[in-house]
Symmetry: C2
Subunit: 360 residues, 2 copies
């Protein structure tokens, strides 16, 4: 079964095509902004999901305080487009990055994260070159075991180090609690807060993160802002996390069934170079086919999505164009230079993914 919109997209652009529904995008932007407003925390959306200045501007217009980026290349694109308050939630290292960070400080209010003294030792070079202090938040780990100091004492020591170092300024703390890690985050926060206050420091920013954490937004007493990213598009992971429905999924990959060599299997023209091998934290298969939810995208070659159709009563035929909700939308957007914009059944334009390919 091919919808008339799918047929139109295949005819005009060919498949695979990454398609976003702007009605849903706008609805998602409003919904999460309202949730942040209601929780009394500022919204600082993470643009790693969409990588498009146009969409960042929609987020800011809807009330976002600023944005979050994960790397300098993304921030450069966003600052160039006029976004003037940017947190890079990442440990940045190296003189090449410090020179670019200094240039960014001429265009936007910049804050970066740090979780160790080596990173902190490098940052003043950016502040010195920019002629003003670079804001630094201390990244705190409360169970995710990614980046972030593991104890409040370490956080306090790094805050003190930042405050004592010319060229950089202590701005606060950054958390990314696991779904059930909010009580621990509260204990961590309260102890770190008491610690920095004993040194005469006060956090201006206490940031929490994650779209799946929208159900917990505002739960950390003391939090000033939240960094949700994926909510603008949503995906199978967000649906599995219970923070979005399939109707909230604004991005789908339109793909053609190109082979049906046997009764129980078929091939989509979207493989690992389109949908990516991201397992979505243990989801069944590599995407959900809206027209055939019982079909399983079982494995990939680079340009082949291998369908297991054993569970399907109605099976797609060669030439059908289907819509796939990806496991993890952020990594799919990262594969493409542009997406097709639709509103309902209408194609409304092409949106370049300007900040894609900014490897660093």
């Amino acid at each position: 079964m091919t919808t008339s919109l799918a047929a139109k997209i295949a005819r005009e652009y060919g498949t695979p095509a990454v398609v976003i529904d702007m009605d849903r995008v706008e609805r998602n932007i409003q919904r999460i902004q309202s949730a942040c407003n209601a929780a009394g925390v500022a919204n600082r959306p993470h643009i790693k999901t969409h990588k498009s200045p146009e969409l960042a501007k929609l987020q800011v217009a809807a009330g976002a305080k600023g944005i979050t980026c994960q790397k300098i290349g993304e921030a450069e694109i966003m600052a160039e487009a006029g976004i003037d308050d940017i947190l890079i939630s990442y440990n940045l290292i190296g003189e090449e990055k410090m020179a670019r960070l200094a240039a960014l400080m001429g265009k936007a209010e910049m804050t970066v994260a740090a979780d160790n003294p080596t990173v902190i030792a490098g940052l003043p070079a950016a502040g010195a070159a920019a002629g003003r202090d670079l804001g630094v938040v201390i990244e705190c780990d409360t169970g995710r075991k990614r980046a972030g100091v593991e104890t409040p004492a370490e956080a306090v020591a790094l805050a003190k180090l930042v405050a004592d170092t010319p060229g950089i300024a202590f701005k606060g703390f950054m958390f990314y609690p696991t779904e059930d890690g909010w009580a621990e985050a509260q204990r961590f926060h309260d102890e770190a807060l008491a610690g920095v206050r004993s040194h005469g420091l006060e956090p201006a920013i206490v940031s929490t993160g994650g779209s799946p954490n929208m159900k917990n937004v505002g739960k950390l007493k003391g939090a000033t802002e939240h960094r949700p990213g994926t909510y603008i598009y949503n995906d199978r992971m967000q649906v599995a996390a219970g923070v979005a429905s399939l109707d909230d999924c604004a991005l789908t990959v339109y793909s053609t069934v190109v082979s049906r060599a046997a009764a129980d299997r078929g091939i989509l023209d979207a493989g690992s170079k389109t949908l990516t091998s991201d397992p979505g934290g243990g989801l069944d298969g590599f995407g959900l086919i809206l027209e055939h939810p019982e079909a399983r995208i079982a494995r990939f070659a680079e340009e082949h999505g291998m369908l297991d159709l054993a569970r399907c009563n109605e099976r797609p035929k060669v030439g059908d164009v289907v819509r796939v909700v990806p496991n993890h939308v952020c990594v799919v957007v990262n594969m493409v230079d542009e997406v097709v914009m639709v509103r309902g059944e209408e194609i409304v334009g092409i949106l370049p993914v300007v900040a894609r390919g900014k490897l660093r």
Copy 2:
């Protein structure tokens, strides 16, 4: 431990950086061309691995008969650069693709694959628009369960259908045998050959595929050409398959250790948006760190490579720049707009990955 070249690359370009050693690239090109020559089959390298016309030209200059592409967007870039004999080893469907295929036929000798009547029914539109016949090879499956007809009888029926259809011409058969599927491929081939001969048809092309299959190249009696791709760079999968050594791996990802929040773990600045979540067919972790082979790239966030250092005696420190051999090099190249070229310890330039981002 950071080598002096790694320090130089970090300083000039920043990390993560995808780096190719041109000495190794040229050696790999020569080695596989020699193996094809020795086996008496033409070399038609698959450019999906490198996506760069410059490298395709080196392959042709070394003796390749033509090239293989997986999609029209790749073929357009290669034809534009002057490559004039191109096989697209894929089922192509849709009028948008047929129009582009017709345009390609004005620039290069084009052959495409097909494994079903629906695909074959669409192809004459390209031939008609180009004013000459489009060459078609029938894709045959011998165990991989991807695309390809499952029986010689189906292959013969499709060959006959192609031969009887104006605007397209039967060119031969395409195989991609599994490593131990060569005896089955031979039986399949022999039966299909007898079948088409009974209709007065003769295959001009019998194509086999795969870099891991270089150990079997020439084993199929009747094969006229081979489509190896990954050999130009190699990766952990090729090493695991026994067709390359680590010294043959021409591409590495230079990445900085940005966090060491606990003794047993660390973070690389290369995550799933750089190294990809490709498991490499069940390899341990998501890449091999040459400086710390006991370290395990255990999991990813988008810009975080989570290191498990439990098995390491010597552990990397924050700021170290390390080299990662990826699980699957083809999908890593697909993430970047350019790669840094080196020869031994010297940086020699930047190579644009021109055909990246051609989603279709």
